[in-house]
């Protein structure tokens, strides 16, 4: 429907087609319910304590940590796209930049939100800044993610200020212009911060000498998982952006970006995925043959517990690794949109599987000779909290899509924003 006929047309850019307001609210309604349920579950955990979850003293990290690592890996598209566009000057990725920022903002704010419920004493979160432990990977993660969330907010503000009504205030418009001119600086800072925190999230597990399943040797103070996490994050980021954009195109029924962009993103993702799988394979071989046996843990014992058998390694490396890498880079298959998006989904699934293996499987496996292999099922509060993040994400993105110029019009040059002299 043309924007002029809508009830909230004042807020929607002229010439834009949007669905009617009642229909839009109908779309938001179920996500709002999911979000409300998530907020309620989070409230329960904050009020009654973490006994509301199914974590225990052996399974200290559960669903939330797995999801935190997962969404941060998927949200890596934000910094990587910014790096490619502003630092490497790849202008063909410009149409997806705004979406990348919004997706990154959602992923990181959601992750920080979940972390606030996950810790036992959220009000003490500032202790890490006041008494930082420079040996700990978690300190690094805390610092970098806080700074990066700030950077993402600063990158989101110009997009917000381009709303039709907000831009009518001259101070907003001029501020947006000046902030937009400095976005390359923010992109550079964001790249530096992301490099470190994506890596440190991997380092969290690579340094655990007490968990030989996760422990890795590496370069200087950084275990190999530090570098593997960075590689896997930048491999999955573009794929996730492809999936988000394709979903938005499907839901709105419009072609929003040049279709070659999907192929381009897929190619980048595929190449990085291939490099990641190669590095990971080498790392796995080193770990199986040298690192783990030297700590007294024979590799076969990790994979002798159902359901975490050798098929998981095969799945990670071949099914969710080599296969999507091939499909995304091989031109003949990449031309077919359905196949391309399936490959992107496989790539994202592979990265999520990797995060799962390092968080959940590490804790499930025994260390002491008389330990049990543990089972863990998340409680409904944990699942609902995560659902809340998903609902929050869809709502934020839907509002951004409706009221903000996320996708450049098909005007000349493709970019409606004119940076003044």
């Amino acid at each position: 429907m043309a924007s002029t006929a809508l009830a909230d047309s004042r807020w929607i850019a002229r010439g834009e087609e949007r669905t009617s307001l009642p229909q839009f609210l109908l779309w938001l309604a179920p996500w709002a319910v999911v979000l409300a349920l998530g907020v309620y579950a989070a409230g329960l955990c904050l009020y009654y304590g973490l006994n509301q979850t199914n974590m225990d003293n052996r399974f200290a990290f559960g669903l939330w940590i797995f999801l935190d690592l997962g969404v941060i890996a998927l949200g890596a598209g934000a910094f990587f796209t910014g790096f490619l566009v502003y630092i490497l000057k790849r202008a063909e990725l410009q149409p997806i930049l705004n979406t990348a920022v919004v997706v990154g903002f959602i992923c990181y704010s959601g992750a920080v939100g979940i972390l606030m419920i996950d810790v036992g004493q959220p009000l003490r979160a500032w202790f890490t800044f006041w008494h930082p432990n420079t040996h700990s990977m978690l300190t690094e993660v805390t610092f970098c993610i806080s700074c990066y969330l700030l950077v993402l907010c600063l990158e989101y503000i110009p997009i917000l200020l381009r709303n039709r009504q907000l831009r009518k205030l001259p101070s907003f418009l001029v501020f947006e212009h000046q902030l937009h001119k400095l976005v390359p600086v923010l992109a550079g800072v964001g790249t530096l911060l992301s490099f470190f925190h994506q890596g440190s999230l991997g380092g969290l597990y690579g340094v655990l000498r007490g968990r030989p399943f996760a422990f890795r040797e590496g370069f200087f103070i950084w275990p190999s998982t530090f570098f593997l996490f960075i590689l896997s994050a930048i491999a999955s980021g573009p794929s996730f952006l492809m999936l988000v954009t394709a979903t938005v195109e499907k839901v709105t029924g419009r072609r929003l970006v040049p279709q070659e962009l999907f192929q381009r993103l897929g190619f980048i993702s595929g190449v990085l995925l291939a490099i990641y799988i190669a590095a990971k394979s080498i790392d796995t071989l080193i770990w199986l043959n040298f690192t783990s046996p030297s700590m007294g843990f024979a590799p076969w014992q990790y994979y002798s517990y159902k359901p975490f058998g050798l098929p998981i390694v095969f799945a990670e490396i071949v099914l969710f690794g080599l296969l999507p890498a091939f499909l995304l880079t091989y031109r003949r298959t990449a031309k077919r949109r359905g196949l391309l998006l399936s490959a992107a989904a496989l790539a994202c699934a592979g990265i999520l599987l990797n995060r799962f293996v390092l968080t959940v499987q590490t804790l499930a496996l025994p260390t002491l000779a008389f330990d049990d292999f543990l089972h863990y099922t998340p409680s409904w509060q944990e699942v609902a909290s995560f659902g809340g993040v998903l609902g929050y994400g869809v709502i934020v993105y839907s509002l951004s899509y409706r009221y903000l110029p996320l996708f450049a019009h098909a005007k000349e040059g493709g970019n409606t924003h004119v940076s003044g002299s």
């Binding site: 700030l150 101070s171 400095l182 800072v189 911060l193």
Partner: protein, 274 residues
Amino acid sequence: MFPGVDGFRWTLGHILFLSLFFAVALTILVTVVSAVWRTVRDFRTNRAIELCWKSDFAQLPETERRCRHELAGRVMSRTCDNAFDCRQCSNYSQFAVQPARGIVHDLGINYSNDRFYHRGHTWVKPEEDGTLTIGPDELAERLIGSPDSIEMPEMGSEIEINGTAWQMTKNGKEIRVRAPIEGTVVGIGGPKEGWYLKLRPRLNPSDPVTLRHLLRGPEVHFWLSRELERLQLQLRPPNTAPSLADGGVLIDGLMDAMPEADWGTVLADTFLET
């Protein structure tokens, strides 16, 4: 964090980590402060309005950004890439030497050859005493009819080009009329006087560059002709095809005569708003 907190010892790790962190934090802070300071500076130096106009211009539909030389028949098709700033346009001279071309027919709208016209539907008339008189053109007057209220700038205030000259309301719609040229307000008129503002221009009015961005002579005719075509399309009843009008004059007070039309879009395109 700081020396004095119990158990703190400086190590190389501390130095590296903290210096990196503070470098990053400082960069972010400097970026934000820079943006704020530059914004304040833009307002102080009156660059703000120019920036807002350039940004708004980019948001206009392409049909509203046609180069004046295309309207005048000097070039086949060209979109203005300079926010109508012919004073700074590098291509101006190569086009301007060519004569304006096109069919001249009776539009039913009056315009004057001693006046210069701005794309936002205002006219500028240089007076003998070096001031400029400004008023709305007839198309704008006929559209609005008699405005419900007019808000004029104060005497002595500065007007920026493409900023706000004056504001009107009609039937609940707010109309901001863009200033065709920059200057200081030395006279305030109104609908009864036949002019709205008298300005002392900042630039020398006898210099041809000063008024270069304004349309004159046959250009005005071709531009108004296109504007009338646009109005025909925008004001027709929905679900009817565009019809070819032959003859007929734009009636006065169109907003009152056709209240059901999409005035939001019509006014935005006419007065170059987003």
